[in-house]
Point group: C2
Chain length 341, copies 2
């Protein structure tokens, strides 16, 4: 596979392989004279030496591989996080292995097992559920792990996410500012932290404005999908609930809501205003362009990666559990307007 190995470099430099190893390794190069180091480094460069990852990994039990687990790469929410993480990681000499669970717990377990068998140095988990045995297992184990995008109930692991509560508050303020009083929240799945957090923040925001939160005003969708948005909105209309605005759990749910509203002859924003979450690509080009909460996805991925590196390279101690919430913004667009008279 690889031609030139350490022993070749050592021979070329006229030293023992062990010495060559120390010379090449930044941490141990101090144990070797400057002159020898120079000769070894030169020989290595000249011969084009690349260390064999297997041999090194076998000896050191480190792989420089980070596993990142997402539910579905084709969901545009995740690629920016992946990019952010990858840039940080590859800058630090790590390789990111991305794996897709297809929203399936069994698959997820299998993938994680496989990665652990590979000696993965750490995990970035974007699939966490509110009660998540897999995540608890990771927390019990000694492999460094950081949660991103979704948290768990236990708060046992470091977490990086968006400031959901502020996002919801911005959206509600905006709607209330437009005169809306009857606002419905099509919440995300309540087994995810984002779904719960946004719903809780929604109730809180309404109360802040002195509005009551009636029953049926928060309706949880079964998934963060357009179809779930369609279903829940259909039920909402069937229930005869009155409302002039919808805060959707995310953009996909908002899309589902919009299509049902359209089919029911309810104009947006004329009769109903709609706000989404995440600011997916192209939602600004729809008719009407979707008002939505923008999360710093890329920064979330990058920060999570940095925190993970800190856990790995910092000797395990340091701030044990950190919960970081990154700032969000509200992108006000065409799907929200003044409350109809």
């Amino acid at each position: 596979m690889q031609r030139v190995k350490l022993i070749d470099v050592a021979r070329a430099a006229g030293v023992h392989p062990g010495t060559a190893s120390r010379a090449l390794n930044p941490d141990t190069t101090g144990q070797v004279s400057a002159d020898t180091t120079r000769r070894v480094v030169q020989a290595a460069r000249r011969l084009g030496y690349v260390p064999n990852t297997f041999a090194r990994g076998l000896r050191t039990a480190r792989s420089f591989v980070i596993g990142m687990v997402v539910p579905d790469v084709t969901n545009p929410l995740f690629p920016p996080m992946v990019r952010g993480a990858e840039q940080v990681l590859s800058g630090a000499g790590y390789t990111l292995v991305l794996t897709d669970t297809d929203n399936d717990t069994a698959t997820e377990r299998r993938q994680i097992e496989q990665l652990r068998a590979r000696g993965t140095d750490g995990f970035l988990i974007a699939t966490a559920h509110w009660d998540d045995p897999l995540v608890e297992e990771l927390a019990d184990s000694d492999v460094p792990t950081v949660l991103v995008n979704r948290n768990t109930a236990s708060h046992r692991l470091p977490y990086v996410g968006g400031d959901e509560r502020t996002g919801v508050a911005l959206a509600v303020d905006h709607l209330v500012g437009l005169g809306h009083r009857r606002i419905v929240h099509l919440a995300g799945p309540q087994d995810t932290s984002t779904g719960r957090e946004r719903a809780s923040a929604f109730r809180h925001a309404l109360r802040t404005h002195g509005l009551l939160v009636g029953r049926g005003q928060v309706r949880a969708c079964s998934a963060y999908s357009e179809q779930a948005g369609v279903d829940t909105t259909t039920r909402l209309l069937a229930a005869g609930q009155e409302f002039t605005a919808i805060l959707a759990g995310n953009d996909l749910i908002a899309l589902g809501a919009l299509s049902v509203l359209d089919a029911a002859g309810l104009r947006c924003p004329g009769q109903v205003s709609v706000v989404g979450f995440n600011d997916l690509p192209l939602v600004d080009k729809l008719t009407p362009p979707l008002t939505t909460v923008t999360l710093p996805l890329r920064d979330m991925g990058a920060l999570a990666a940095r925190m993970l590196l800190g856990k790995i390279e910092g000797n395990g101690h340091g701030s044990p559990v950190a919960q970081s919430l990154l700032g969000v913004q509200l992108a006000v667009r065409g799907s929200t307007g003044p409350v109809p008279k």
Copy 2:
């Protein structure tokens, strides 16, 4: 790192580690009696044995890692291909390492180097340029490689893509069927196979319909981006070229074209029809919904992965170079209509 190793299993089964190894390995289990195999397998399962990838890789010089190189994960074109590939590969016991070149050749080279150092068993390349030194290097090397989505001039490596020519023909037939005679092609970058192929197919399709291809009728964009679409369309209008329909090199270019047309007061599809390529998510929800060519992205990824596995596990021989083009479809939507009178 890992508790239980082969020697533990062997001890539990009362055999030599070597024997245990053979018993566990499907290829060599024939060298061990059925009874012994059963005992070993049972012990392995009971103890929860997972082989150490490093030790195995060191000995066998195989990693069961496939590197996939894409220009940008956040471009929705790629995630479906990644998923398709990942499913095939993980089903076969391989791990997919996804890497993002950020459309930068230097980054790409670095990433590929790093992956090769890791003993990557094969590459799936989605970043190929028409003349691509990096790809040629891979072709020269002995590491199995399959190109996907984009081909190179040399045709030295197996390739899986969509049937671009048919896609273009469908689009042109559709436009001509609507009465369009003055059709402009906003071609993709001409250093990519897709850009060249679509442009060439466009000329060919026009001739098939007995239409002349005038100068200025095919205009190459500098990138597959919305901005490039904006720029090229702006130039097109400035040139005073007459046209009633645009075939865009891809959906992003089409989006750019649409916004410029809109700004210029040209209604779509009333005055100008627009066809895209790729069928990105949400382009069916725009106003007007974009008529576009649909590629089987997921199948492309899956087939490419299968071909790569064939190259890796088939002993190198077999059909040396295969070029596979998968069927495409035209999704007719609202952005195309009858030619204005």
